[in-house]
């Protein structure tokens, strides 16, 4: 009963309802405008909303998150430029459809399917999270340690780049998170004896730098690209089109939820995996994939919105973010004095049900804004990048400054912006860095708790891992992810295939 009441909080307070609506509306445009991404928007917003109450702040962020994951599809379809990372796969078939003059149909199907995927993701979150958090109560410190390591490894291995670069990025994030005074012994760590570094590096500065400034710098390469106009016809898709793709959308939504729920991996990766899945299972597409197949729209769009709900599962139950945006939201909850994890679910279940309610609301607004306002939309997207990029940079600076009123945060933000720019250029993933910064404290504390409870004995520590089924499963997961990317795995595979070839 209490759960239902908290679930309805959003609906009962017009102010919150309005904030979710504004957020979703803004999110659709943030996602759609190339050069503005959800991670960027949410990381800048966190510094502006930290003086707010927690409910309004979260309402706005959830709206932007939900709208933004969807919004990227618009520009992907109309301009062949994915407005947000999660829409990269959408462009592959969406743009050919628009070229054939079916832009309206493409946008309509995308919107309805995003709504469907988003709804399944939220339903899964509501159903699964309470169980996961009950289960998580039995987690030992070493399990948290292993989970954090597994999460960082997974991001590195699921993104298309090299695992070594992913591991480097994750370790870098952990190191950045460790800078400053150690909370347990009050020893300065990685400060190089500089008083400036004693307080640590503001993770908001790191985030805004990595996702705001570095992306804006990256966009400078494409500053001269002109906007292309498209004609748009009927948008609301027919029921038969929707029904025809229901089985596929169920499968791809499931992929989305699972990928979203894995620590660190979000909608962008889910969309690409769902696209590959659709290609495999669709035996006779009406139009070949890559030339405007409807299935090629349905799969990534259901998956990336389903991943939103999925990403909240580890965030709410374990305090481990499901993707970059939830990593930032954990930061927001920290600022408001809340500590996401199994205890939050027990102490303040209303927070969880409020988030579920806000997600449902945002999903409905997304459907509404998705099927209307196309004309306004085409105007806004034509905003030249030469104006947009300086504005993003200005907002990034204001955002970095506003948190602590400190100029040194601005310099950190700019430093990480330039560093992130080079990381992007040379194929180092940024997701693991942010995950590392956020998980640094959790990993450090749990390692020390685990090893102290084993009286500083590594042998007993490993004995503990091997004797507990959960720890063992997580440990094997770490080994498996790591092993699957090293030469050992190809070597093992070669031996196995040789054996099957010569029975």
């Amino acid at each position: 009963m209490d759960a239902l009441l908290s679930f309805l909080t959003v609906f009962s307070q017009p102010e919150l309802l309005l904030l979710v609506a504004i957020g979703t509306f803004a999110g659709v445009y943030v996602g759609a405008i190339p050069g503005l991404s959800v991670t960027m928007a949410v990381s800048i917003l966190i510094s502006f909303t930290f003086s707010w109450e927690v409910y309004p702040a979260i309402s706005l962020m959830i709206g932007i998150y939900m709208g933004g994951v969807y919004g990227g599809s618009r520009t992907a379809i109309l301009l062949n430029i994915p407005g947000a990372p999660s829409a990269i796969a959408t462009a592959l078939d969406g743009y050919p459809m628009a070229q054939r003059g079916e832009a309206g149909t493409a946008i309509g199907v995308t919107t309805v399917m995003s709504f469907f995927g988003g709804f399944l993701g939220i339903a899964f979150l509501a159903a699964a999270a309470p169980f996961v958090s009950d289960f998580a109560l039995g987690f030992q410190p070493r399990d948290y340690l292993l989970l954090a390591v597994l999460g960082i490894l997974l991001v590195g291995s699921l993104s298309t780049g090299s695992l070594v670069k992913g591991i480097f990025a994750g370790a870098l994030g952990l190191a950045v998170g460790a800078v400053g005074m150690d909370p347990l012994t009050f020893t300065p760590r990685l400060t190089f004896d500089l008083p400036l570094l004693r307080g640590g590096i503001s993770f908001i500065a790191v985030m805004i730098g990595m996702f705001g400034v570095s992306e804006a710098l990256m966009q400078l390469h494409h500053v001269d690209t002109p906007a292309i106009k498209q004609k748009i016809g009927r948008i609301v898709p027919s029921w038969s089109t929707v029904r025809k793709h229901l089985p596929l959308s169920l499968q791809t939504s499931t992929i989305g939820v699972i990928i979203g729920a894995l620590p660190g991996t979000g909608g962008d990766i889910a969309a690409l995996m769902a696209y590959d899945h659709a290609k495999r299972v669709t035996k006779a597409p009406k139009v070949p994939f890559g030339q405007g197949a409807m299935e090629g729209l349905v799969a990534p769009e259901t998956a990336n919105n389903a991943a939103v709900g999925g990403a909240f599962i580890p965030m709410m139950t374990l305090g481990i973010p499901g993707d970059a945006v939830t990593a930032i939201m954990i930061g927001a909850l920290f600022i408001h004095g809340l500590n996401p994890g199994p205890m939050l679910m027990i102490d303040q279940p209303d927070m969880f049900w409020f988030i579920v309610g806000a997600l449902v609301t945002a999903n409905c607004f997304m459907l509404l804004f998705g099927l209307t306002g196309i004309r306004l939309f085409t105007k806004i997207v034509e905003m030249p990048r030469a104006v947009l990029i300086p504005l993003i940079m200005l907002l990034s600076i204001v955002g970095a400054y506003a948190v602590n009123n400190s100029i040194s945060d601005v310099y950190w933000m700019l430093g990480f912006g330039v560093f992130g720019y080079f990381m992007r250029l040379y194929g180092y993933p940024l997701g693991p860095v942010i995950l590392g910064v956020i998980l640094s404290r959790l990993l450090d504390e749990n390692w020390r708790r685990a090893i102290i409870s084993e009286r500083e004995d590594l042998g007993r520590f490993f004995e503990g891992i091997v004797t507990s089924p959960l720890s063992l499963a997580l440990f094997l997961g770490v080994i498996l992810v790591f092993g699957s990317q090293t030469p050992i795995w190809t070597w093992v595979k070669r031996i196995l295939t040789r054996r099957t070839e010569q029975p």
Binding site: S51, P85, A171, H221, D268, L391
Partner: protein, 190 residues
Amino acid sequence: MTDPETRANDHTEGLSDATPGGFAKERRPGEVAFAVFLVLASLGLLWNAYGISGFRALSGAGSVPMATTAVMAVTSLLVLIRTAARPKVASETFGRDILPPTIIFVALLLVAYGVALRPLGFLPTSALFLIAAIKLLSRRSWVFTVTVALASLVVIWLVFRIVFTVLMPPGIVPEAEVIQILRNLTNRGG
């Protein structure tokens, strides 16, 4: 998924971790230098992490920093070895594809912004920054540049100063007085 050439063309290069920048089989200009920098930085951090608590205790303050920086050192070294062994991309130059003059200039503008923010104050610094950056990037007329820059600055200032109540350094502009005048005006009007 897509190869780097198409990524560069459809603007997804480096946009997310699902489409990283760089080339699969070749190295870009400056990639080795960046890898060397990462190795040196990692070793520096490792040395510093060793100084925290050494090998005294597994639960010491320095254990996790030492482990993570050691991982950084090893992985960055691996990346360096792999990168150095690759052939260079023939079609790219450092000055055009990695750090074009525009990007250097914008980066310098950002640093200048940071330096000027406190003494000059938010409004003048931002106005100068927006005008310089928009003029440079759009190459449109001064009238267009100044109008767009000032109009968007006013919107940003109103939203963040009034809605989000963010305090930026006022510098040489008597911001508080201006807001007071605005308040008086609206009060009298209402």
